[in-house]
Subunit: 163 residues, 4 copies
């Protein structure tokens, strides 16, 4: 993994459409929870083998009252075939159950808007946002399950100490 | 795995187009080699996790003089998104190097023509054809690497004893 | 995993001898750090396949200023062959680098003394003790790496909030 | 893996004692079957993680009429602790069911007698002997399951063509 230091308030997601949720989610409405954004592309092998199973494991381990997992489909290559329709089939076949946002394509380049706003370097990227909406981790590549649990656990515990 | 007894001559592949080969392949021109057909769909999780890595391992283990691996994209669901263009992106991202044939869609149903001709039950399916063009194994689901090596090894050795 | 609720002060380790440390460790001297005790037997398959690699991963992930991993060889069967000499060969072959304590055999039964004091149900068992010396988790069997990271991370973070 | 060319008749096993068999086995009495010898040490990590599970998989895949798996405990280090009593506990804990022979210690050096007779370089080693008692493969280190299946399958098939 490579860690990008991007402290500060997490920019709001820019989203074309959502899967696996009745209502669109916003980071501001999730204030008070830890938010884990798993940015992926459906044709990215490291996402399929590592990132998506890890995101699913986070989704299963934690109560949604404490941690909200959000998949973010950040298409920056093969735009013609990684469409919303293709992603919908992919999510069904892989039985993904956490909410998935489709990032808004750029008007000018290949990098979609939320991906650019978070200075992501590629996929998979895992972003961990604390209960106050601050970006705490912005992790490109593979991070071990133990480290991910450690990062989330630390932020959960901080939240308890504020009360 | 489930084994289907379909002895007899292997029907010729019906193919829309090929990837990873300059010349289209035909089973008849491959007579004298063991042919391993790995039937898959790019959005089938068991294919991505098990079948495709196994097909790649077969392709790496054996000399192409003895064993020819052929991927066969047998789309029987999500036809709109598992297009040739999408498969091409998939094969590039997963760095597949063995020849891949795209099965011909049916005029009347969802099952493509080669898939139907072999009575395949789904994906992944591994078909092993001997040097005389006879179907020897038609294996739906997951078969262990050891068993696959065993089946191929037995047929290779038979071929030597004919000489 | 099965969690045993055994709140309260962690009893001091009873130790025949130590491996991988110049000085014997005591829990009281480690006050202020998170302590992770991995109880194992060298001939326990789930310990070898799961527990010991997990203990090594904890040892690698965390600074020893924050988290002290201690292996505890709790022999409760095959006493004749799981000797200190055998354990020493085992630890060398498996290249274990964290400190390992050998639990003191019982005078009356098969369960060694520290194992009994912690009411352990078998091996592998993972015990997590906080900075104040309180038992926080007493986990028999397999616990996922993500959950272990989560538990340790929460306790680390609590420690920071006390300051 | 490293392959040692040691063609020729397989030397008979020299054995202190057997586990998991009522009668001692001899290679000569097994003529007509493929024999797979898995040489290991109970404290060798690569044996525990790779070699022993592979030997068990061979034992499960093939009929004992065709392939006889034999474990061979070739202790060449830590002799004091890798005793027959320790091996017996190990085999019980790991639920090994194939016959296991204990190699005869050398009078003069650390390498036991069968290990020396086969010119083995270490553990794990996998030796494949054909139906005529000829050594066909002498493989030190890790060999893939597919390759092992391939080697055994080829020899099985040869045996059929002799009939």
């Amino acid at each position: 993994m490579t860690s990008i230091i991007t402290y500060g308030q997490a920019p709001e997601l820019e989203v074309v459409t959502w899967l696996n949720t009745k209502q669109p989610l916003t980071l501001s409405a999730l204030r008070g929870k830890v938010i884990v954004i798993h940015a992926f592309q459906m044709l990215c092998p490291a996402c399929v083998v590592h990132g998506i199973p890890q995101a699913s494991a986070i989704h299963e381990l934690y109560s949604q009252d404490e941690v909200q997992v959000i998949g973010l489909h950040t298409v920056f290559e093969h735009h013609n075939v990684m469409t919303v329709e293709a992603l919908t089939a992919f999510a069904a076949e892989y039985r993904l159950t956490f909410p998935i946002a489709v990032d808004v394509p750029s008007n000018t380049g290949s990098i979609p808007k939320t991906m650019a706003a978070y200075y992501m370097q590629g996929t998979p990227t895992l972003i961990v946002i604390d209960q106050q909406g601050q970006i705490r981790h912005n992790l490109f590549g593979r991070t071990s399950d133990m480290q991910v649990g450690n990062f989330i656990g630390q932020i959960i515990s901080e939240g308890k100490s504020y009360r």
